[in-house]
């Protein structure tokens, strides 16, 4: 029998410490929508999404009320569109029409984001891939809810530097086309290395080709819960610290597992995975940086940050993995800048730099995330930053990503406001030395030696 202490603990987690299920993401395969006629293709895509996701928002709301746990986002991920549009799209503009169809379908079913305007080009780009990539700026500027991602590298294949070079230009073009909204388009665009097929988190979610027709993936959150738990063990040894993180991660993940199973049952869609991530929001007390401070740092970015983050990330996984029957996605601690009040404070205090963030990405779950940089940053420099981040992912056999926002018309120290969960951010300085000659070399970086495991 449940006792009052346990009930109070759970309710405190929800009401005071921002425990929530961050997203229920319905993955939908669009492979059976393929047609050589663009109009038919768009029609097929719209029909399939609106049919499969018809009850998603309703069921999400039911579970939310019945169990008393907030479910912040209901979202959709689809098969990478570069694989779907190949035979129908002759120009990038044709791909833009698909993005608009996705946007209309997302609005129809009431989800706030739809991910999968994506291409997987870790070894090379097909014509279709390149057209889709060239369509990204226009697609993100003319839609509201569509998210885009491009996987440009993997441990198995190496890094496609032609795609990396192109993405530098595409990010800048997206920033320019959305400059009236502080270059918001770039907040919906992620460049990946080792992108997972089952990530429920935006902006990088897509429904991988290895997945079934439809699947439910759930992303949990709870930085505030971990922070509060750690307040109780101040000054104690690392063993106690680690045990506390594990226990908390276990509890948080169990809630995600419950919600995922319920959603799967009610929507009659197979359960895929739980992404056991610590995903911060700009809300006070919902910050990963605050956990690092609680572990013992003055600010995120101080010496020791990488070690503290490595510890945190690992304990979250260890605690969470037993709480769920299937774990996947990105799973770990996210370190976005604009979406985390503690990270914003650290940047403003001068404690956190782009280079330190890069080091932190070696041990966190993703990468350089939601970082605002000056609008006059060169495309080649952006490509250089992407290449560095992809190399970290490739060599360490982990997912890494880059979501940079060159804010057109603004410079270092100025603030940008993205609104809602995307938060706000101070613009960070970028190393201004050139990498142009390196980035302009054609071809790809070969896969690392330890990828040959056969």
């Amino acid at each position: 029998m449940i006792n009052q202490r346990e009930v109070t603990e759970t309710i405190d987690m929800i009401t005071r410490e921002n425990l929530d299920v961050r997203t229920i993401t319905l993955g939908i395969s669009l492979l059976d929508c393929i047609d050589s006629d663009l109009e038919t293709l768009n029609h097929n895509i719209y029909s399939k999404i609106t049919e499969k996701a018809r009850n998603l928002v309703l069921v999400g709301r039911e579970i939310e009320r019945e169990y008393g746990i907030p479910i912040v986002n209901k979202r959709i991920s689809v098969t990478p569109i570069a694989l779907i549009g190949g035979s129908a799209c002759e120009t990038p503009e044709d791909y833009v029409t698909i993005a608009q169809t996705l946007d209309t379908a997302a609005k129809e079913v009431g989800v706030n984001f739809i991910g999968g305007f994506s291409a997987l080009v870790s070894k090379g780009m097909t014509e279709s891939d390149e057209k889709l990539i060239r369509a990204i700026p226009q697609a993100l500027a003319t839609t509201e809810r569509v998210c885009s991602s491009v996987n440009v590298g993997s441990t198995k294949c190496g890094i496609d530097m032609d795609a990396v070079r192109l993405m530098g230009e595409i990010i800048l073009e997206t920033a320019t086309l959305t400059k009236e909204q502080d270059s918001l388009g770039c907040a919906k665009l992620v460049v990946f290395c080792n992108a997972p097929d089952d990530n429920p988190f935006m902006a990088g979610a897509f429904h991988g080709v290895t997945e079934g027709d439809t699947v439910i993936n759930v992303g949990v959150s709870g930085p505030g819960v971990v922070k509060t738990a750690l307040e109780q063990v101040r000054g104690q040894g690392l063993e106690v610290l680690c045990e506390t993180i594990k226990k908390t991660a276990f509890k948080v993940t169990r809630v995600g597992q419950l919600v995922a199973q319920e959603a799967s049952k009610r929507l009659n869609v197979p359960f895929g995975i739980i992404d056991l991530s610590l995903a911060p929001t700009p809300a006070i007390g919902d910050s990963v940086a605050d956990i690092l401070c609680e572990i013992g740092l003055e600010h995120a970015g101080a010496p020791g940050t990488t070690a503290a983050l490595a510890l945190l990330n690992d304990q979250v996984k260890k605690g969470g993995v037993m709480a769920s029957s299937y774990v996947g996605g990105l799973s770990g601690a996210f370190i976005p800048v604009s979406e985390d009040q503690g990270m914003i404070n650290a940047v403003e205090a001068g404690a956190l730099t782009l280079e330190k963030l890069e080091a932190m990405t070696c041990v966190c779950s993703v990468g350089l995330d939601m970082i605002a940089v000056p609008g006059d940053t060169k495309a080649a420099t952006i490509s250089g930053i992407i290449a560095d981040e992809m190399a970290i992912g490739m060599v360490n056999q982990k997912t890494t990503a880059v979501r940079l926002i060159p804010v057109i018309g603004k410079g270092v120290g100025e603030m940008v406001e993205f609104g809602g969960l995307l938060g706000y951010a101070p613009i960070m300085p970028v190393n201004s030395f050139s990498c142009e000659a390196f980035v302009n070399r054609r071809g790809r970086i070969p896969a690392p030696i330890h990828s040959f495991k056969n």
Binding site: I2, R65, Y67, K251, R254, V255
Partner: protein
């Protein structure tokens, strides 16, 4: 049997239990257990209930109880027991 845990928290006044119980009785929700404390003038109650015979859906009940709480300046939450079971029991 699916149990619903109802928690009521807020400043103590006359008739809290009466109005909560009246709502439950009117909606055919059976009370299985009640524990209640008052600390520093704050009322804190946990009820274990069985709503399987209720005509209304869990969502409606949760919404209406929350509204009832708002009128009395209390926080009333109805939650399916499984959220506590999964979190606190392996």
């Amino acid at each position: 049997m699916k149990k619903t845990i109802i928690t009521v928290v807020g400043k103590d006044t006359v008739g809290i239990i009466a109005s909560v119980c009246t709502y439950l009785a009117e909606n055919n929700i059976n009370i299985l257990d009640i524990s209640q404390t008052i600390v520093n003038g704050y009322f804190n109650m946990m009820m274990v209930t069985d709503a399987s015979e209720a005509a209304k859906s869990a969502v409606e009940i949760a919404d209406e109880m929350e509204e009832l709480g708002r009128k009395m300046n209390l926080s009333i939450r109805c939650m399916h027991e499984d959220i506590f079971n999964t979190m606190h029991r392996v």
